[in-house]
Symmetry: C2
Subunit: 384 residues, 2 copies
Amino acid sequence: MSSQAPHPTLLIPGPIEFDDAVLQSMSHYSESHVGAGFVKIFGETLSLLRQVVRSTDPNAQPFIINGSGTLGWDLVAANLVEAGEDVLVLSSGYFGDRFADCLTQYGAKVTKLDGPVGGVPSTAEIEKALSEKKFKLVTATHVDTSTGVLFNLKTLTQSVKKVSPDTLVIADGVCSVACEELAFDDWGLDGVITAGQKAIGAPAGLSISFFSGRAVEVAHNRKIPAAAYFANIKNWTPIMKNYEAGKPSYFSTPSPQLIHALNTAFKQLLTNGIDHRIAKHVEVSNYVKKSIADLGLKPVASKKEDQSHAMTAIYLPEGVGATDVLPKLLSKGVIFAAGLHATIGAKYIRFGHMGISAVNSNRGDIDKALNALKESLNECGYKA
Amino acid sequence: MSSQAPHPTLLIPGPIEFDDAVLQSMSHYSESHVGAGFVKIFGETLSLLRQVVRSTDPNAQPFIINGSGTLGWDLVAANLVEAGEDVLVLSSGYFGDRFADCLTQYGAKVTKLDGPVGGVPSTAEIEKALSEKKFKLVTATHVDTSTGVLFNLKTLTQSVKKVSPDTLVIADGVCSVACEELAFDDWGLDGVITAGQKAIGAPAGLSISFFSGRAVEVAHNRKIPAAAYFANIKNWTPIMKNYEAGKPSYFSTPSPQLIHALNTAFKQLLTNGIDHRIAKHVEVSNYVKKSIADLGLKPVASKKEDQSHAMTAIYLPEGVGATDVLPKLLSKGVIFAAGLHATIGAKYIRFGHMGISAVNSNRGDIDKALNALKESLNECGYKA
């Protein structure tokens, strides 16, 4: 039985429900951030991140920093691009657009390729853009949390290798790491940024990122030093290397409790191998998509190959608003998120099916949510 | 009895020991960052911060952001100064120097006034510097964690008002907020940056700051937009205002568990009024300083008026190194920190006496530490 107080099931696209052991790790007594016990846990956690993103490249570098997913954009924008350099941003919703905003804020010259609402920019468009200009880096949102659209990173890296091999490939993996197929080394990615509170299943408060050796070199060999201090990769690289080597190091105080929770979450998700975890998310996602279709509803991500396995953005029936449905869901003990997209905002809701809610079917979270959705829509006058 | 597992008493200058209720707040079940329950707690926590820094000015603005103390420097450097503008940094150790580094990294022209080792720059020196050049802002480390030196912010604000009233006054209060006298409105401060894990007694992972109305205006009315995204005050101001007004808002996912813990910590420290808490720290600090003197030892902060009440940096006896004493202290269940100062690093150790260890004398942390110190020094051949 759960040690947590009774509460509505949180099925938004992050933060997600916690496993008891993860949450209990947050209650670890106070430790020195440079004491032997914490150094061991932090170093181990950094090494586990390598497994989570499937990298064995010793030149690639994990970073785990107090912050949120947003800070990952700053790590990329402040360190890997210099003012005036060109960046290609592939957007499939709100978070792709925001990544572009962040890059622009730091002085990058951003070319943004938007997918249609609920879709992704095509490979032909991307290859055309890559061939027209020399881009320092290309970014893609692996799963855009606003639309539930999945971007094919494998195809993207193949395009970049073919058309513009010097261009760094950076993935926003906030809503994809630990639930979508991702092979850092095999695909030749240069960066994945993520956060703890989505499919990883840890509490919010950590910016988690992983950069290739050549990306780290770019950060260290800039012509003009990055005008950033906390988000400066140069300041963090030696710290992370030291911790992973079992040596204490100090740039800024890490959060022992969050690191303990992340350590527990990583160990849990690697127990049966990352393949198993991803397969489970695919299975649950397919079940959700089928159930949604059975209710006569459509996902925002229109094509099957563009559908995330982390979450489903669901168009509401004509005449039913998110502000009608969400309180009814809550009254049935289920929390979904409202829409978050400039053009279709009020017309859809978002159902996160990540982490323990997807992996541990004994909890019954998914069926509880689907039943609550059906009932709530009925109460709104829609006969599913 | 504590619900925490047995562990050595952590008496470094942060993170500090936790009260059980604070730590238990970290185990809060998962919530939506825009759900009604969390909005209420976050809004309330922001309002409580006003009380902690003694401000009733409605134009002043609290910010609580995922990050560490270091991020506070970025908030100041990225937002309140433009490239090429002059900043006066008053340093009494490692953290003053680092604040200067951060400002320089963002393009500020830094003039640094150093105190002597264990002391502060004099008022005469400061007024002279302020009169020679127009500084956009002046920064001071209220308590420098490397030396235990306390800076007199009240005198500083008087000097600035007299000599250069347009200059913003920013205090690094990481190691002072909730244990040293601090009157934001009365003294006319423009910014205090801090973190949860020191005298506030919350877990690490939050950057906590408070800016005057005119500082926030400076951030919003820059000539050139800040080249920062996560550390951009403009991005956070509407979010913080909304939460405090009880309205959900989104820029970047906050950490519900850390906010719950901070809320508990704030409520605890305000229970008997902030005056009471500060008086308790003064009392314990005086007791520690006297006990250290009785052992024949000297604090790094040489003058009484420059001695922090948060911690004591203690010179070791001739021939005894930190690497000798610290393991002996640990074997007696007490953790102190090593030195952290360029010129005297190995010659001293640091004893944090903040938060619950200072306020709750029933714990016996302070006497346990003093006894352990005496025994450890004896074992090192020093007869106290």
